[in-house]
Homo-oligomer: 396 residues x 2
């Protein structure tokens, strides 16, 4: 891909449901509600029949719905979408972002003019020991994952390494949770809409030291949807589309001791490099970002991996207020995974929904001033796969 050549793709609609513990909604309910909210978001309206194809991002329906082989049925059935094509993309916690990426490629190739992307996950119907996240850490690399090796444990290793190497503190990590709960309290779609204090975070039960309960994002039910068109068609649907400037997916080894410094994710750096080259911009040009704060330490690592601050300085950079709602580079204005919730397949699509609100000036009490370029950052595994997507409210 030539550098600085943006994808010729726009977002013309984005909608989601309020994330949470949704025992009252089935998988199909969530998909339909997110889809309808997405349709409603299209300023000039859209005839559903103009949607030519769809992509579904979902990570683990086998565990959650005993539906290992979901495929196109995951959308065709709830949306009565047949005979139109639907592809299911599974890329762990990046499933939603990668569904957006693949859908955009099809539009960029000129195959379709108008496509739908839905991200969804139903995680709360099964007990946590059997959950998707627990299972995800117990892969075919079982020789490395004895019982007890959980996601918090894996991220805790990064937290302790960062503390040891750079003097990062539990207070700094706690500040991520406080910030994101503050933002989540302003977001009607967030799972947790309550403010918390640094003391609450520090005094919460330990999950895996140094990570306590409030350092961990919740397992969540949720769904989100976006509609993409070719740039040439965008204005038929809205005068305020988002333009898809760049996308990047990169991968890393599952077995971290081989290569990891435990101080960051090379895959985030690689994905950001790919997306930024396509967008023709650097970290300084990002006005607002949705980051993968599955654990508080993960948001700090993201600041560094994305080049928002120098390596090792994320704790200080946070304390300086840059990433707060009022700062110069607000991060996770939606509340992030921590407060908005993390229904794996939905997360990457919901991140686009937040940029849809922010870059169009429709984010209400959590609106960032003069935001023009936004970034989404979505991590699978522990840096095993990372997606970065960049959107802007201007065509270049």
């Amino acid at each position: 891909m030539p550098k600085g050549k943006n994808l010729p793709v726009a977002v013309v609609g984005a909608g989601m449901i309020r994330f949470g513990e949704l025992f009252d909604k089935g998988y199909e309910d969530m998909v339909v509600e997110a889809y309808k909210n997405c349709l409603k978001s299209v300023d000039k309206g859209i005839d559903e029949r103009n949607i030519e194809a769809a992509w579904l991002g979902i990570a683990g329906p086998g565990f959650t719905m005993r539906r290992e082989v979901l495929g196109s049925s995951g959308l065709t059935e709830p949306l009565r979408f047949f005979p139109r094509p639907v592809t299911r993309v599974e890329n762990a916690c990046c499933s939603g972002s990668d569904a957006v990426r693949n859908a955009a490629f099809a539009v960029a190739a000129g195959i379709y003019d108008v496509v739908l992307v839905v991200g969804v996950e139903k995680q709360r119907n099964i007990p946590s020991r059997d959950s998707l996240i627990a299972q995800a850490a117990e892969t075919f690399h079982a020789w490395w994952h004895p019982r007890g090796t959980t996601m918090p444990q894996r991220y805790a290793a990064f937290a302790t390494a960062h503390m040891h190497q750079f003097g990062t503190t539990r207070e700094q990590m706690a500040t991520v949770a406080v910030k994101n709960h503050h933002n989540g309290a302003l977001n009607p779609h967030a799972y947790f809409r309550n403010e918390i204090t640094k003391e609450q975070v520090l005094n919460a039960p330990t999950v895996c030291w140094p990570l306590g309960l409030y350092d961990c994002c919740p397992t969540t039910d949720g769904a989100a949807a976006v509609i993409l068109t070719g740039n040439a068609r965008a204005k038929e649907y809205t005068d305020k589309p988002l333009y898809f400037w760049g996308t990047g997916l990169a991968t890393g080894p599952f077995y971290l001791p081989w290569t990891s410094s435990f101080l960051g994710f090379p895959a985030t750096e690689a994905a950001a490099k790919e997306a930024s080259a396509m967008a023709g911009i650097g970290p300084k040009d990002i006005d607002v970002a949705e980051l993968h704060d599955c654990f508080t330490i993960a948001e700090l690592l993201a600041y560094e991996d994305l080049g928002f601050c120098t390596r090792g300085q994320s704790g200080h950079w946070l304390e300086e207020g840059h990433s707060f709602l009022e700062g110069d580079k607000p991060c996770n204005t939606s509340g992030g995974l921590k407060a908005k919730g993390h229904p794996t397949g939905a997360t990457g699509v919901a991140q686009v929904c937040e940029l849809w609100s922010q870059l169009r000036g429709e984010a209400g009490k959590r609106q960032v001033k003069n935001a023009s370029v936004g970034l989404t950052h979505n991590v699978g595994g522990v840096g095993t796969q990372v997606m970065v997507n960049i959107f802007a409210n201007e065509l270049r």
Copy 2:
């Protein structure tokens, strides 16, 4: 997509492993072996580092490997492919074909010049009652699938309807199996390489009447891989690429009584229409075809749905010899799912491998004379999703 505008994408390498009951090979062994065979197939050689991205087609790793969330790790780990991007596509038995489709879109969009597609499935390590196929028929539409509603049962309904409506006979269905075993016996990559007689098929134990043991394809282990490039780059790798003329994916309802005639799959017709429009050709232009003969009746339905013969005439058309190796439109020269085997995620990619051999004149004893245009047809569920891809050995 404008009609007659081919995808600007070529196949420059294709390799697979011999399908079978591969207790001696793990998932990673199969992936690596198919990949290496694919690399070897590139006439002018290829530096592995030139492969920029990959797509993985696999339907059910949660059941077979307790690896529900596989994602990019499914290729990055066995091939040490990081930090390059890998997307897992899951679209039931169409997973491999749809992985090829999505990879081709990325190349057609100009994002990547050289990409890899791997299709794989490990099905034989688990007992058949717990198997992927059994589970696939027991979806969230469980209200319609009481215990005992299996894939053979669902296809048997089509067989009996076709017999009732058109006078199709068990002998005609048996002839599909005899033909495909004949072809499979000539294919070094086929699971079953033995000829069978019509009497053997008719006298085999009944699975679900009218389908007997030899009317059903085997559950299978296997893997296959192809390398795609932009047309402009193809000649760097081979003087005999296949050109990707057209692709189509279409879907149908899971709950058949709503809409189905039980005499064919509308999704096959829709997918073929989409692929044919892109290719700018019709059924008469197809020289050789790999069809989804998961059951013998399925191959007969495909003849009709693809327009190779008129509705209801597939049994006679078969008996007239058209689809035999020596006929004017040979079908399943590889042995098809019936004899070559059906490792779900690998099937659609392996179909491309057969066309790679046929359209380049390298199919040995099963070579079709003067084959220039080939079609692959891959069905998920029971017409729930259908893929058609069209390749040719000439650029138009």
